[in-house]
């Protein structure tokens, strides 16, 4: 048993995957921390305040525009009393923060966050069912919220949990259907075969990938900015964007939390590091959602600025790193948008949220599928 495990870890493929996991984690965690800082600073600026600008390097007077804030926040969360109320259902209460946080990170496993570094494709798990896996995992994120609401065993978290369930059901469907036209366009063997014939870099990158693989969606969008599915499928993009807001419980759809009515919603009974886990889970979900949007609608790691940016790196470390940088920059832009929207729009009422989900987005996304199908049929016949 032990021997087989050591053998497994000695295999370079496994080691490299582990290395990638560690690297992605090491990049995403600071991103989570700094998106919290960004949230606080941007909200402050929008509200004519200054925001946290004091904490810099510990034990010095260097303030660094408040960039040391995550350290202070993290330390505070760790040192605070971890209080478990007497009336909670303990096992679920302990489980919920982890359940809320883990799926956001798991989603990142199948997202192609770069082209190639050396001979390694920059995706942790190159799944051919990438998008299906993503949807499966993204919807798991809601269970953390629901579980927290149930386990807390008091009224406000319970209401938050219920709202989260309803919200998940109404938006998941629209979100899933919005992505269908994307794959109607991208999952077409003809262009992929053509691309693989044309360039060795692409054939190397798309080596044996299925059509539902997310890296093939990226490849589909590499040519020009007009190939970005954001412009080819604007309705799908709009629905997906809004659904991501609802999925990640961000304003204007943060009904599970809605401070004004439900105290703090599902995390009312949580304190210290457990609350921080929910908080980190929310931001990690934002990052995962943004990454998903970048991959599906904004060309992934490509930029339509010539060969350097839109062909996969081939034995060039610098190029591979630049592609990862482009991907992160695109994510940052979506994060900025999400943060901005939060401080701009008021929260929707519960019935309005349901109305939009079921009566607007669902028919609209279905119509979009049919429209895309008709257009494709006309073009191909």
């Amino acid at each position: 048993m032990l021997a087989s495990i050591t053998e497994l870890f000695a295999e370079p493929r496994v080691l490299l995957t582990l290395l990638k996991v560690v690297c992605v984690f090491a990049v995403v965690m600071p991103m989570v921390a700094y998106s919290v800082v960004a949230e606080r600073r941007i909200s402050a600026w929008i509200q004519d305040r200054i925001g946290p600008n004091r904490v810099g390097i510990p034990f010095t007077n260097i303030k660094l525009l408040g960039l040391g804030q995550p350290l202070a926040d993290g330390l505070k969360a760790l040192v605070k009393e971890d209080f478990t109320p007497a009336h909670v259902r303990k096992v679920f209460y302990w489980m919920a923060p982890a359940v809320a946080m883990v799926p956001s990170f798991v989603v990142l496993a199948v997202l192609p966050f770069g082209s190639m570094l050396g001979a390694q494709k920059m995706v942790i798990a190159d799944l051919d069912v990438g998008i299906l896996f993503t949807f499966g995992i993204v919807s798991l994120g809601v269970y953390g919220v629901v579980l927290a609401g149930y386990a807390s065993n008091s009224k406000y978290p319970f209401l938050g949990g219920i709202r989260s369930t309803a919200q998940m059901i109404s938006y998941e469907i629209a979100m899933g259907l919005a992505v269908v036209p994307v794959f109607m366009l991208a999952a077409d063997p003809a262009w992929q075969a053509e691309l693989i014939d044309k360039s060795t870099a692409w054939s190397n990158y798309l080596n044996d990938t299925g059509l539902l693989n997310l890296s093939s969606v990226v490849a589909y969008q590499h040519e020009s900015i007009l190939d970005w599915l954001m412009f080819k499928q604007p309705i799908a993009f709009a629905i997906f964007l809004i659904a991501i807001f609802a999925e990640t419980n961000r304003l204007p759809f943060d009904l599970p939390e809605s401070e004004t009515e439900l105290v703090a919603g599902y995390n009312t009974e949580y304190s210290s590091m457990r609350f921080a886990l929910f908080f980190m889970g929310e931001y990690a979900a934002m990052i995962a959602g943004s990454a998903l949007m970048v991959v599906l609608f904004c060309g992934g790691w490509t930029l339509p600025l010539g060969d350097f940016f839109n062909t996969p790196a081939h034995q060039s470390l610098g190029k591979g790193l630049v592609h990862i940088g482009v991907f992160i920059a695109k994510i940052a832009m979506f994060l900025g948008l999400m943060i901005w929207i939060r401080w701009m729009l008021p929260r929707f009422r519960y019935d309005q949220l349901m109305n939009i989900g079921w009566k607007r987005f669902l028919p609209l996304s279905l119509a979009n599928i049919i429209l895309t199908a008709i257009v494709l049929w006309v073009l191909h016949s």
Partner: protein, 204 residues
């Protein structure tokens, strides 16, 4: 009551105009880098940040503000307090503690009959109510403008006579503080009080 609901046009119901307006408003506030003078000139400009960077920038304390109570000296630099202990008796949280001089009074100058041997104010207890200032017949204790009283131990925050006198300073400071009461030549509380009482209807 009947609330009239406005019929929205299809364009408005698309939510897009609201979104664009939202961006307009938030962008205007986001890019307003000017510092507000709201704490100085009391003017809030819509293109300015209102935050006061506290320890570096200090709030402009208004006249008549009830800060920490200190003992003041007269214009010649003498202690005005005569150890009557009225403030000690009136103090609601019992923050003031006066040690009277006893029968052989501590007097350090001509013309003074009595002064406190020790005068302590526990700043942790003080509630800044101003009764001590109100009750003092000698105008010796005043609530000045200090509002951030900090220390590292409880003992440190019990201010003794020397410290209170030093912080209170000469009479001038209290005088400046109360100029708005219409007192012109130094502080003569009895005059002010008589005048105020005379201004009330039905006083004889």
């Amino acid at each position: 009551m009947k609330v009239n609901r406005t019929e929205l046009t299809w364009w408005e119901r698309l939510y897009l105009p609201t979104l664009l307006n939202g961006f307009k408003v938030t962008l205007r506030h986001f890019f307003s880098w000017k510092r507000s003078r709201v704490y100085g000139d009391k003017q809030k400009s819509y293109s300015a940040k209102t935050t006061m960077q506290y320890p570096e920038e200090k709030w402009d304390v208004p006249t008549g503000y009830r800060g920490a109570p200190y003992l003041v000296k007269d214009v010649d630099g003498n202690t005005k307090c005569v150890s009557c202990q009225l403030c000690e008796f009136v103090c609601p949280p019992r923050a003031i503690h006066i040690t009277p001089p006893g029968d052989r009074g501590v007097v350090d100058r001509e013309g003074s009959e009595k002064m406190p041997k020790e005068f302590e104010i526990d700043m942790l207890r003080c509630i800044y109510c101003g009764y001590c200032q109100e009750v003092c017949p000698e105008e010796a204790i005043y609530l000045l403008k200090d509002y951030a009283i900090t220390g590292e131990s409880r003992e440190e925050l019990i201010y003794d006579k020397e410290k209170l006198l030093e912080l209170g300073g000469a009479d001038k400071r209290a005088y400046d503080h109360h100029v708005q009461d219409g007192v012109e030549e130094g502080i003569k509380k009895w005059e002010t009080k008589t005048r105020e009482a005379g201004e009330q209807p039905g006083f004889h």
